[in-house]
Symmetry: C2
Subunit: 273 residues, 2 copies
């Protein structure tokens, strides 16, 4: 298998394209897989989105995203769990076995990290039987600590893994995203420890200066400060052989012609090895 056969384009990298447009872009650039997002899938319609990626001959590496489990109101928590059950069904319908979870930040009005973390564990526990019945694994993604307050209190791969290990391996795993975990002195040992729990590997670079919207400070592989090869090697040594998604949130890249972006993604991808 060549390196480029591992490539998957996460649709967030070309966020202005519809699912059919993104699928055709991948086919045009011989990118064999795509990571989908729920919002554009909903805009296309679930059956049409599934048909578009099938028609383009792509596999679907993951669906982004479930999660956002942390709410003060029990009804809101129940609604989040219900929405995540729907996301599991969508993942299955799209033909992917991986639903990426961004678990949620502090509970509104609270500073209690432990409370937020317990809510996440409780919600995942409710989802496990549904995931197992659907053949979909939930991928807990550790987000960079800069997002701890407002998006995800799970801030390290090791923490995501400890949570995943509380559930069966066929239901819950972890997502390794270089952008979120590169800085952690324990990341290589946590990847080794994760082993078969790794359900997704995503790459994009950490660039400086950070933009005003921190969410968008991601770059093409090679444009920033991340040392990819040791991380990629650790993920391989842990036994992960699946697709590797390039997922970049960046205003300038979003504004660029998508064919140019796809070309750069392909050209830079081997630098991650």
């Amino acid at each position: 298998m060549t390196v480029l056969e591992r490539l998957s384009l996460n649709q967030a990298t070309v966020s202005r394209l519809s699912v059919p447009e993104a699928a055709e872009l991948c086919a045009r650039h011989e990118i064999p897989a795509i990571g989908l997002w729920r919002e554009p899938v909903a805009r296309a319609g679930l059956p049409a989105a599934a048909a578009a990626v099938r028609a383009a001959g792509l596999s679907v590496s993951s669906l982004c995203r479930g999660g956002f489990f942390t709410h003060a109101d029990p009804a809101a928590r129940a609604a989040a769990v219900a929405d995540n059950k729907a996301a599991i069904a969508e993942a299955a319908a799209l033909g992917t076995d991986t639903l990426v979870l961004v678990s949620g930040g502090l509970v509104p009005g609270s500073r209690d990290l432990g409370l937020a973390r317990r809510m996440i564990a409780d919600a995942i526990a409710e989802l496990v039987p549904v995931a197992q019945a659907s053949g979909v694994r939930l991928g807990i993604e550790a987000l960079h600590p800069v997002f701890a307050a407002d998006r995800c209190v799970i801030t390290r791969l090791g923490e995501a893994l400890d949570l995943a290990l509380a559930f069966p391996a066929d239901a819950v795993g972890v997502v390794v995203d270089t952008y979120h975990v590169w800085w952690d002195a324990s990341v290589l040992s946590d990847i080794a420890r994760a082993g078969e729990r790794i359900v997704s590997y995503q790459v994009c670079d950490w660039i400086l200066p950070l933009p005003a919207d921190t969410l968008l400070g991601r770059g093409h592989v090679g444009d920033g400060h991340i040392d990819f090869p040791p991380i990629t090697a650790a993920v391989a040594a842990a036994g992960y052989t699946g697709p590797i998604e390039v997922e970049i949130f960046n205003e300038a890249i979003w504004a660029a012609p998508p064919d140019e972006t796809a070309e750069t993604v392909r050209k830079r991808f081997p630098l991650a090895f």
Copy 2:
């Protein structure tokens, strides 16, 4: 001892004041200690700065900062070590036993976190005998991972502690700064493990949205998302009985009248307990 007797105003919170002005501000507001920075100390002149804080009846809780050890050029690394030796002497002359270290980001032109971390360890090893001879402890500060590339590759309290433990306890300890470590699921256990190695405890809050210059996104205690009491309790349980610095980098606070800032700092400080 009342809570307010533990308060120290880090001079960075009123960054537009000279050392004598900041010292008088503390005296006026019955703040018994001050944390000094090398640049304003140099502007005042070392003997004059020391005299000003003595005249105001203050103790000096720390000198900020040494560090920035990571350079590609051996001559630049040697210059950094020499500069840190000077900082140790300044700390002793100012009557504080604590020099805070911001260790440095990636080596320019390199993505190798391990290289940067080894350079930091090597530099600290060179400083240990000087610190011991001067009665000054080096406080390794873990910075928030958002600063890993450009300011400090030591991103977690546990990592700072592991490094400190490689050196004698009378020479090297750790700084606990809520802003940098609050998000970490291991922070309370790392504080317990740190015990006597804690040489400084600093508080300020994590506020959102982040400003364009991420360095300046800090708030008064209570204005943000940090749950201070469990961290303060853990620091106390670990045996730390020293001053607690309020250190806030924030353009709006810098632009506010310093007497107003000092009043707010005093008023908010008990919320950290």
